[in-house]
Amino acid sequence: MSEGLTIPIGPQHPSLKEPVSFLITLDGEVVKKAVIELGYNHRGLEKACESRTYIQDLYIIERVCGICSHAHSYAYCRCVEELAGLQTPRRAEYIRGIVGELERLHSHLLWLGVAGHEIGFDTLFMYTWRDRERVLDLLAEIGGNRVNYGINTIGGVRRDLDENICQHILDVMDGLEEQIKYYAELANTEATLIARLAGIGILTRDDVIKYGAVGPVARAAGIMDDVRIVEPYGVFTEIKVNGVTDDHADVYGRTVVRIKEMLESIRLIRLMVKEMPDGPISVRAPRRIPTGEIIIRVEAPRGEDVHYLRSNGTDKPDRVRVRAPSEANWHGMKHMLEGFHFADVPIIIAAIDPCYSCTDRAIMLRSDKGDTVTDWESLRRTGIERYKKMGIDPSKIRMRTSGV
């Protein structure tokens, strides 16, 4: 046992919500070494963007991630708008701001539910996901869809907010605030929750800097890296954000940061609805974008989302590069896992709010013929050969071939 026991988790595993592969080597119950393998969601999105027009790419970019789709399309639109020299209307920026904060609310509520589920606190999971539905209903009312709302377009937004929707947003915020305050109290007082989250998955301030972690992971270690504050954009040049940080540097700290950020988002949404100016919601955009290159960042719910765009004077971009926040947070994951108990692995992984699709920049594709790519037996054979190369032989496992 001196070399430890190596346990493969994933790429398909009940505790993982998306495909990723972990090889965890244990010394007793303690994680000694972790090897992470990503890329299962890679579908060549950036290549796809190079052969399509700017407006077509907008819809690809929006599908980088189902949860923070607005952040990606916003960053992309800002890239194109800046290169084209467009000045977006103020009302459009306010609408973008409102949708962005609603997105942060639903993303953080989703995370809180997943975190509750991972530690066996399923009541919290059901409460938060019930509340998240109210935000998703609002987003559906605004954009016509629960996710991928398609609110952004190059030059502004596609849909306006009328008085009824604004009033509905304010009504939902009232109810939501009450609930989130309850979760904040829960995080402060519920002994089981604190005992389960505190002191695990630690990533100190120095390690955050070393591994380039972003978003709530960095802020939980006391580093204020909120792009809305560091480099204000759009509506945040007019409305100031009160940044949230914490000094626990562990999973508990990340929970506290996310709960407080939700309360701040509610404050911002109320303010933006109140201060939203009248006027047009978009400006005309040219099809061809002048030659240039630009780096834009936007604060997505999971942290800093960096987009690079290079144009060549045509109607198609020369290069689009998306650095989603999850991609930055993976570097510290190995460090966060090592030295902690195996039972804590799921919640430590969940604590960065990982989005594999963001990391790999995926779009879902089916095979051209609509049939299955491979049969069960050859899939199993491929899997066994793959693990054998890693020094693990699962071929002895008895499989039930029929009648489950």
Binding site: S21, V35, I36, E37, L38, G39, Y40, H42, G44, K47, A48, E50, S51, T53, I55, R91, T153, I154, G155, G156, R158, R159, D160, I209, K210, Y211, G212, V230, E231, D278, P280, I281, S282, R284, A285, P286, R287, R288, E293, I294, I295, R297, V306, Y308, R310, T314, D315, K316, D318, R319, R321, R323, E327, A328, W330, H331, D360, S367, D368, V373
Partner: protein, 195 residues
């Protein structure tokens, strides 16, 4: 340290690249494309002397006969410094900077898979992001790699035998696109209704 000061300090330390430094916006500084040795000197100087402590990511670009790798680093004031190196496609050999910026590791692995960079000193570990059975020598983010010749079922890349045909097809595609663009020029890409 603001962008202006960054440019001044870089000009002092590297007079030969000073005139080519660009700052298109207040929080951005771009260096020109540098040969790998010079690039490494600038990167280490930025980390050690200018306190650009955060590694953001790497943008790989196809520069015709060459490959460009733009390393984005950031400092406490939120300035993003883009330090760039260029190598020929025929010998895309660079040194790994993941010992200086550990956050660049996964992005460098991506350069290997997608652009075919040969990176010296890259620590052992799983490749990223292409799947296990990806054909060797196929680098999808290079401009000459055309996804329509890739068979997803067999995982093989089969371009037409005659290279001239390939070029002609690409030229025709461009021609079609140009015509389409001209026809659509009057319509707007914005598409949103005004209030």
């Amino acid at each position: 340290m603001k962008a202006e000061e960054t440019i001044l300090r870089l000009k002092e330390a590297f007079p030969d690249i000073g005139d080519d430094l660009k700052s298109p916006s207040p929080l951005r500084v771009f260096t020109p494309f540098l040969e790998p040795k010079r690039f490494e000197e600038v990167l280490i100087y930025a980390k050690d002397k200018l306190d650009y402590y955060r590694g953001l990511h790497i943008v790989g670009t196809d520069e015709g006969e060459n490959l460009g790798f733009t390393y984005l680093v950031s400092n406490a004031d939120g300035v993003i410094l883009a330090i760039r190196e260029i190598v020929p496609k025929s010998n895309p050999h660079i040194r790994s900077m993941s010992d200086i910026y550990p956050a660049m590791l996964m992005h460098e692995r991506e350069l290997v898979d997608l652009f075919g960079a040969e990176i010296e000193g890259l620590p052992e570990g799983p490749s990223y992001p292409l799947p296990d059975g990806w054909p060797k020598g196929q680098y999808p983010m290079r401009k000459e790699w055309n996804p329509k010749y890739f068979n997803k079922m067999t995982m093989t890349y089969e371009p037409p035998e005659e290279k001239a045909t390939d070029t002609a097809t690409a030229a025709n595609d461009n021609k079609d696109n140009a015509a389409k663009t001209a026809a659509d020029e009057k319509s707007t890409a914005g598409g949103g209704a005004s209030k």
